[in-house]
């Protein structure tokens, strides 16, 4: 095949569950083999992704400002300390575990902020008349899908640490509300990534009406 032909142009649609390609499907239709719902493009992809991304950005503020965990131990006296996501990274750095600090920095700060930027770039580009370097952007999208869920790391760490440190009066750890916001940011950006349809990057709006 010299010029790649595209399913939507040929009036065909591929099923996301069983992979069958079928013809002349009403949108939305049903796959004749596995009966799942078929859409030529994910429904309302752009507006759904924008909505989820915006919600995630709003929650990102309390997620970073509010403390995520409270810890109190015998040697620090009665005064406990509250950590935010960022002060947690600094804490590891100062205690000499720069490797763990790097892991948390990547999972909790670098990945979420990169995700915001990349998703926004993809959303803006998907509306363009001609998308520049779609192959690179398709790769970025697949990278988002692959690494996004690692951001849940901090939420799981808070869960484990607060579950195991429970010596009343001697040493205690409790989760704080910031981790709820942070977890919601991760879930919303994951939903946003899933709602985005990478096929839009290859659609030229001059041939197709914009979807969503």
């Amino acid at each position: 095949m010299n010029t790649p032909s595209r399913a939507a142009d040929a009036g065909l649609c591929g099923c996301p569950v069983c992979g069958l390609v079928c013809d002349g499907v009403a949108d939305p239709g049903r796959c004749p083999r596995c009966h799942c719902e078929l859409h030529s493009r994910k429904p309302e992809s752009l507006s759904r992704t924008w909505a989820l991304l915006t919600a995630a950005l709003i929650l990102y503020v309390p997620a970073n400002i509010l403390p995520v965990m409270y810890t109190q131990s015998i040697d620090s006296g009665s005064a406990g300390r509250e950590d935010t996501i960022f002060s947690g990274v600094i804490g590891f750095w100062q205690s000499g575990s720069w490797d763990i600090a790097a892991i948390i920095f990547i999972a909790s700060i670098l990945i979420p902020s990169t995700k915001f930027i990349v998703l926004a770039v993809l959303l803006v580009n998907a509306r363009r008349r001609r998308v520049r370097r779609p192959a690179l952007q398709a790769q970025l999208y697949r990278a988002l899908e692959a690494v996004g869920y690692w951001s849940m790391l901090d939420v799981l760490v808070v869960g484990l640490v607060t579950a195991v440190v429970k010596f009343r009066g001697v040493s205690e750890a409790e989760p704080r509300i910031g981790i709820l916001f942070f977890g919601m940011v991760v879930v919303l950006t994951m939903l946003g990534t899933l709602a985005f349809d990478p096929r839009l990057l290859w659609d030229s709006p001059s041939r197709h009406p914009p979807h969503g």
Partner: protein
């Protein structure tokens, strides 16, 4: 409605290609965007063996403690479920649901579904509820986070080791092995099952 069993459409860019027939560990990628189109998998018997092993590891990972600590002779430990309860105990409760799904419920569903479908496929049958379960299977994948849980347990151990005496529990080893098996199973392209098993129309 007409079907085109000889074609395959890329889910990332919508390019049509001829459906290749693959063997062994071969994989087909889209000529236009480079995304994975189709993968040949290990045999069903292999997959079934891996799924059953995953089921055993899943039970060990959930029953035994993941981390234990010791402060002045007082000991404490936690399982995965314990970490969910700890988050559920405070204002952070909604995120406990997400953690329970990611570490406990979704992995269990994945393993259970896999065993159910493969045990029937092994006997040359289509499992009851096959269509429905395969649709669920397709949606589960992004929400399974056992591998993140392993890293979280390691980070927690380092975090605590500065303050108290920490030991890794049996659960963490089982989780690590489970994460490997789930990754291998996730590599399996379930779409390859359809041509074989979808023959009998409902």
């Amino acid at each position: 409605m007409q079907i085109h069993p000889t074609l395959i459409a890329c889910m990332n860019c919508d390019t049509l290609s001829q459906r290749p027939s693959l063997m062994g560990a071969e994989q087909a990628t889209c000529a236009n965007c480079g995304a994975m189109l189709l993968r040949a998998g290990p045999g069903l018997q292999h997959l079934l063996a891996l799924s059953l092993a995953a089921a055993v590891l899943y039970i060990i990972a959930n029953v035994f403690p993941v981390i234990g600590i010791n402060v002045n002779g007082r000991a404490s430990d936690t399982t995965l479920w314990g970490s969910v309860l700890s988050l559920a105990d405070h204002a952070t409760a909604p995120i406990a649901i997400v953690v329970a799904l990611a570490l406990i419920v979704v992995p269990a569903l994945r393993i259970g579904l896999m065993c159910w479908i493969l045990l029937h496929a092994q006997a040359g049958r289509r499992a009851p509820l096959f269509n429905f379960l395969m649709r669920i299977w397709a949606g589960l994948h992004p929400w399974s986070m056992v591998e993140v849980g392993v890293l979280a347990a390691l980070v927690s151990i380092v975090k605590l080791s500065g303050l108290v005496h920490v030991q890794a529990g049996v659960g963490i080893w089982a989780m690590a092995a489970l994460a490997v098996l789930l990754t291998v199973l996730a590599h399996w392209d379930t779409r390859s099952l359809w041509p074989e098993l979808a023959g009998g129309r409902r």
